[in-house]
């Protein structure tokens, strides 16, 4: 059986909000894409546009071979539909036992999702989403509200995704999964910095540690903690 090619193409798109605009051009193929940019640079707008919530004022968003799409909003409460954690998991179509264990919420099956802290709710929603297999998965600020240990756990899970297009929109500066391609939004334009590790040299939003390693001639193979540690310890 032939495996369909998954692809999202942004053909000269432009989004306008008030007096501000965002232009983007590029092709997102299977793998993990990181889109970085400052707060207010237009990451969420682009994420919502790629999810198909509204059309661009010009240009087109073309999807090829994509049958299932999911976006995880920055604020996890928007996703809640179940009156308790068990029902919430069931409404996502995932096994409550497995997912609640993955989210560190075992034993709280009867709790109201809206009574959880934002960090706990984020863990739950991410666990529900990552338990499924979407062709296009868009994560808008997935690391917000998570502590360092949870961020690292999420990075490990994301690094393990083998199928589909995963696009991570973030202004995170410390925790990253292994990514295939880096993009960044600057001055209302989306720039493709290319594949890793060559992208690191052109990445303006690169964390200080990455810049420092490159300056010392120790270019990391990728940007996960393990890769950065390997580069830092390299002799």
């Amino acid at each position: 059986m032939e495996v369909p090619v998954l692809k999202v193409s942004l053909a000269g798109i432009r989004a306008v909000r008030g007096g501000w605009s965002l232009s983007a051009q590029g092709i997102f193929e299977e793998g993990i894409h990181l889109i970085s940019g400052d707060v207010g640079s237009g990451k969420s707008t682009l994420a919502h546009l790629m999810a198909g919530f509204f059309p661009p004022v010009s240009g087109t968003v073309e999807r090829e071979g994509i049958a299932s799409v999911m976006i995880v909003f920055q604020f996890p409460e928007f996703h809640v539909t179940g009156p308790d954690l068990e029902r919430e998991c069931k409404e996502w179509g995932v096994d409550p036992g497995t997912v609640l264990a993955a989210a560190g919420l075992t034993g709280r099956e009867r709790a109201n999702p809206l009574d959880l802290s934002r960090g706990e709710l984020k863990r739950l929603i991410l666990a529900c989403v990552l338990a499924k297999d979407y062709d296009l998965l868009i994560l808008d600020e997935p690391f917000s509200s998570l502590d360092c240990a949870e961020k690292e756990r999420l990075c490990m899970t994301l690094s393990g995704r083998k199928r589909g297009i995963t696009i991570i929109f973030t202004h995170e500066k410390a925790h990253f999964p292994r990514v295939d391609r880096i993009w960044e939004i600057q001055g209302g334009v989306l720039y493709d910095r290319g594949r890793l590790p060559s992208a690191l040299g052109h990445w303006d939003h690169a964390p200080v540690i990455v810049k420092s390693l490159i300056a010392r001639g120790k270019v990391p193979a990728n940007i996960s903690q393990a890769d950065l540690l390997e580069a830092a310890c390299r002799t």
Binding site: F53, V69, I71, F75, F78, H79, V80, T81, W92, L114
Partner: protein
Amino acid sequence: MQDIRLRAGTAALLSLAAFTSIWGAAVVFIWWLIFSRPLKVLRKMRRVIPAIILIAFFGFVLELTGGGGISYCLRMTVIILIGAWVYTGYQQGEFLRLWVWLLGKKTGFDLGMIAEIGMQSLELMLSDFSRIRQAQELKGTIWGLRSLVPSGSILVHGALRRADETAELMAVRGYTHGGSYCPEFETPMKDIIAGIAALCMGIIAFIPVSEFFILYH
């Protein structure tokens, strides 16, 4: 209308006139067509259409069960249109200006601030509602009565959380009662003309139709 004093006064007068009778609703509707820039209002406030459909449904039920439903529907529709006109002209801070002008820097300031927080909350709730719908669609939840309960819970929960955070923040910053604020207003000539026209429409609406035609003859 830029001047919130005129806009609020006009809206109160016209709503009362429209509610009083069908004749009142008709003259208010004429005012709305001439002065409110109706296309802009409807474009910015598309939600008035479902609201009018809902009112029409209740009007229909009322007409079938006890009568008077058509009158109710027409009068309420005009009031909704006036409400939409007030809402689309809203500029941040203008209710604070209005209430301080009306009741001073203590009670007026408090009421104005509550109104401003309410307006901000409404904006956020509308934006949250659209996010909730998008999330539910992607999750495969069919939008309907069943999904209204969780959506409402999220909206109420979010509004309460924001209110709590705002209250705590204000308490920490030492807010107790009132504030210092000197409201300023701009009143262009077209606002005055629209205001006078609303007053005339109000007077016409409250004169019984028979009296009006006797005077005319």
